[in-house]
Symmetry: C3
Subunit: 208 residues, 3 copies
């Protein structure tokens, strides 16, 4: 049981809780809350596995992951009213999860011998697609496409991880260094509200 | 041609008609109506097959299914104005379809040697994803996440079916018993408007 | 490098630009714009490959395609304000892309020995799913389900292509003839605003 695996289990639990909270906000019933939590937590890895043709996909090979996400969603539904002081903790665990998901996603694509650009992309997809699918199920434009350095953190994490491995650095060391650097980047991005450039209506008048 | 197969063909026809009606409500053109009907009818099995890596997926191995769904959608578009007295019939066939889809989905995963929890989940996905994808295409929060004992009926059906088979009961008898019990559960849920618990805004103030 | 391949590269570039413009309209950031452009350009082929179980999917076997789409999206974000006089050009290239995507999609399914109805459908999916996924990410009912002879052009293109090959006509000649006929159909449909039948509320009162 590696550190990365432990972080992964903590991360899918936290992602499932945040998905469950959004489901509650949308007035979903208990099934919807469990499903939204599970999609948020496992959707990124699922999208990656389906796109790479990497079967069996993660939660089918490890059904116990579903136990974590459904359990987390149910607990959240029951105790949510007492959780509002945990917002900061959620954001931090979510950031850690983003980085861990990305590193794990890169590893899966690398083991399949994919091109380095695909390895990085597989990491980004693993990191951000859970939230993207959650937002689609909640009928809103995915947050990750609109603001915050979130996908960018995943991209930075993937590029750094691939670079370190390419430099011949030991996998476990590269993973740890990438986790720390990516997490730091995410925390700084949240603290200082860094954003990618947006574009004004005047940039595109007359188009589309 | 088993009873289950006959029920399946009746069910995808009815699902395609209900999907077509929703497409008409959304002002879709004839192509949109045919596609929405087909997605509603075959989307659940498609999602299951893609997630399980079960190729070729159902309607590619049996293109005739597309004939049923597209034909049903076109007929619906033409005669919809005369169908409003069939609403009750639709709800009953839809309920029967939900249960049949679930039993069939469990069977597919079981034949692949999946873990029992995945067998049940494959049944639920087969039962509910058609309507979920239909609602996403119609740009609304999927009904199945919000209310009615619909997914719950699929879950009950899957658990019952797996349990009966686990007890060593003959497949055809287990299928028939599960179809009857699941359908009865669905009818009762509709009749008495049973619902899963929802959660109030006060439960989650300050969160997300 | 066949003519079809050159048209394909031009088409994914144009589709990526149109997707990027829609992302700008939705106030997406640079990542969102790149991703929406890529999904618009490559989403159709991706959906086809996943549904057919045709691995590795196109852009994983040819990562350079991602270079075209991401590059096109970034350029669009930078120069969009100077592009509003190119609207007509976009519509024409988009129409050419629709036809090229469809022909390519039919070819992939045919090489896999799929049933002719699946070959045609694979072409239609390749042609229209990029825009469909783009619209879902933009949280709106997919345009292709609502109006314009767009999917119909893909259907016509696929049927014509399959028919010509079935008649024993050489592939390259059949491709060229289909490209010309399909493109002409699309241009005429746009020029004269041909539409498929829609249905009025009165057709469906009391239903759904």
């Amino acid at each position: 049981m590696t550190l990365l695996h432990i972080i992964y289990l903590v991360a899918i639990t936290a992602e499932a809780m945040s998905g469950a909270i959004m489901g509650m906000r949308r007035g979903m019933d208990l099934f919807g809350i469990c499903m939204l939590g599970t999609v948020t937590a496992l959707g990124g890895g699922t999208a990656r596995d389906v796109l790479l043709g990497h079967y069996p996909i993660g939660w089918i090979a490890h059904p116990e992951y579903l136990g974590f996400t459904v359990g987390a969603a149910i607990v959240t539904a029951l105790v949510a009213r007492h959780m509002h002081h945990l917002r900061q903790v959620f954001l931090l665990v979510d950031g850690l999860g983003l980085v861990a998901f990305t590193v794990i996603g890169c590893g899966v694509a690398m083991d399949m011998g994919a091109h380095l650009s695909i390895v990085v992309l597989a990491g980004v997809i693993t990191g951000v697609f859970g939230g993207l699918l959650r937002d689609i199920l909640c009928n809103r434009v995915p947050m990750v496409l609109r603001r915050e350095l979130y996908a960018t953190v995943a991209l930075f994490t993937g590029v750094l991880y691939v670079t370190l491995l390419w430099l011949g650095i030991d996998t476990s060391i590269a993973s740890l260094a990438t986790l720390c650097a990516g997490f730091l980047f995410r925390v700084l991005a949240m603290t200082f509200q860094w954003q990618l450039p947006h574009f004004q209506e005047r940039d595109i008048r007359g188009l589309d």
